[in-house]
């Protein structure tokens, strides 16, 4: 039943059924009719029907007693005439509204070791729990913290309900050799023909069109100054070379199968839980297929079975190798290995596959790619 405001009545008089039917006929909607005794029944009606109901009850000659109302009306009636309770409620509401204008809690997230400094800043600026929200300038807070703590890169402050949230993102030191300033050369990591040379620091040792070998210096780790002085630096640059990469895969092409020779031996046995009686023993074949069948003799009630085992001798024979499928499989494998060796920045110009048969029915596939790739690794070698 839908929850609604209802006024309960207790009715006293003979013929409660007749009364209920009469009220129903007059269009009253009655709720929660409860029988108390032969002369007394109680029920509830909606507030808009109270006046008309009381008129009808008087007209029909029934005594009635209006009970305290249910729900919110009951609480409001309770407050009626109780000035202290009303005042207490008013004070409570005012305090609740006032408390919503304050910050009750300050959450600092992601600050790590800077938490203490942020707390110090908050103290200096008079921001603490129970500070009025209107006193807090969030934008000024973000800017001041960013200025005061250069080690942080981002500050976000917001008021969520009665909580002041301060999210801090700290600076992260870049990994790798970005800050490594040791002098040294850049050397080739693979053989190739130089396609392009971009030197950021140091002196180029090769030009486009040069052939380089693995380990050859590409950029010298020094720079000549205007005064003729040679200064050791950390060589940096991008050297792209035309180079080749290859990958191998081996696949066995032969196949061995078992072929029945025609010889077979049948061994029968009677089995029971206490032992077994066999008609023969297992044959001494080098290789054989074995087929066993079991038949219950006495049904489910007598635990005796007959077991028939057929041993079929087989010989292992080599079948002709399927060279085409073996070549295909080896090629796929080699190509997959080759692609895993390539970097995402490599520009593949051409690729091809070579297959050959090596000893023992084995196929070897070699996948080769011609590509333009970046070569050059830093070698911390102090130049002369």
């Amino acid at each position: 039943m839908k929850k609604r405001l209802l006024y309960p009545y207790r009715i006293t008089g003979a013929g409660a059924e007749k009364l209920l039917n009469t009220l129903r006929g007059e269009g009253f909607a009655l709720y929660g009719i409860a029988w108390e005794n032969v002369r007394r029944v109680s029920f509830s009606v909606s507030p808009d029907q109270c006046g008309r109901l009381e008129e009808s009850l008087q007209r029909l000659g029934f005594e009635y007693e209006r009970m305290p109302p249910e729900g919110v009306m009951k609480k409001l009636r309770y407050l009626h005439g109780r000035k202290a309770a009303v005042a207490a409620c008013a004070v409570f509401v005012a305090l609740a509204l006032f408390s919503l204008r304050l910050v009750w809690k300050i959450d600092i997230d992601g600050a790590g070791s800077y938490r203490g400094e942020i707390n110090a800043w908050l103290r200096e600026n008079g921001i603490a729990p129970f500070t009025r929200k209107s006193r807090i300038d969030l934008q000024d807070m973000c800017e001041s913290l960013l200025y005061r703590l250069p080690e942080i890169t981002w500050v976000r402050a917001k008021i969520r309900g009665v909580v002041l949230d301060i999210d801090i993102t700290r600076s992260v030191v870049a990994e790798g050799d970005a800050f490594d300033t040791r002098p040294g050369d850049v050397i080739a990591s693979s053989d190739g023909i130089v396609q392009s040379v971009r030197v950021f620091q140091g002196t180029a040792a090769v030009r486009p069109g040069d052939t380089v070998k693995k380990g050859q210096t590409l950029i010298y780790g020094y720079e000549n100054r205007e005064d003729g002085r040679r200064e050791a630096v950390r060589a940096k640059g991008e050297i792209r070379v035309r180079t080749w990469k290859s990958a191998d895969a081996l696949v066995y092409a032969g196949k061995t199968v078992s072929v029945p020779t025609g010889r077979e031996t049948v061994v029968k046995a009677f089995l029971c839980p206490w032992g077994a009686v066999r008609s023969g023993s297992e044959p001494e074949y080098l290789a054989c297929d074995k087929l066993t069948e079991t038949f219950p003799i006495g049904g489910a009630w007598i635990p005796v079975w007959m077991e028939k085992t057929i041993y079929k001798e087989t010989a292992l024979e080599k079948e002709e190798a399927d060279w085409e499928s073996a070549k295909s499989e080896a090629g796929r494998l080699a190509m997959r290995k080759l692609l895993s060796l390539c970097d995402k920045n490599d520009e593949i110009i051409d690729k091809w596959l070579n297959c050959c048969m090596i000893e023992g029915d084995t196929i070897q596939a070699t996948a080769t790619a011609e590509l333009i790739a970046e070569t050059g690794v830093f070698s911390p070698q102090i130049p002369d």
Binding site: M1, A16, E17, L20, N21, R24, G25, G27, A29, L30, Y31, G32, I33, A34, W35, V38, V41, F43
Partner: protein, 78 residues
């Protein structure tokens, strides 16, 4: 209106819906003939419906519908 009906019965234009053992809806009744906390006798268009049980209460009583709650033990069309 009621949500799940475990039994629905039609009898001379009346519609009786029983939900579990503790809720009964009767539509198109013609009034109450007798009522106590253990028995309720309703008048129908062509007969009577007797409801027996314990702590019977009429939770809603309107012009066309009546909802009875309590521990319903027996329904009988008379």
């Amino acid at each position: 209106m009621l949500g799940d009906f475990s039994g629905v019965s039609g009898f001379g234009g009346v519609r009786v819906v029983i939900s579990g053992k503790d809720r009964l809806l009767v539509e198109e009744h013609r009034g109450i003939l007798a009522y106590s906390d253990t028995k309720l006798l309703l008048r129908l268009a062509d007969g009577k419906l007797s409801v027996s049980g314990e702590t019977l209460e009429i939770s809603e009583y309107g012009e066309r519908d009546i909802v009875v709650t309590g521990r319903i033990k027996q329904l009988e069309f008379l």
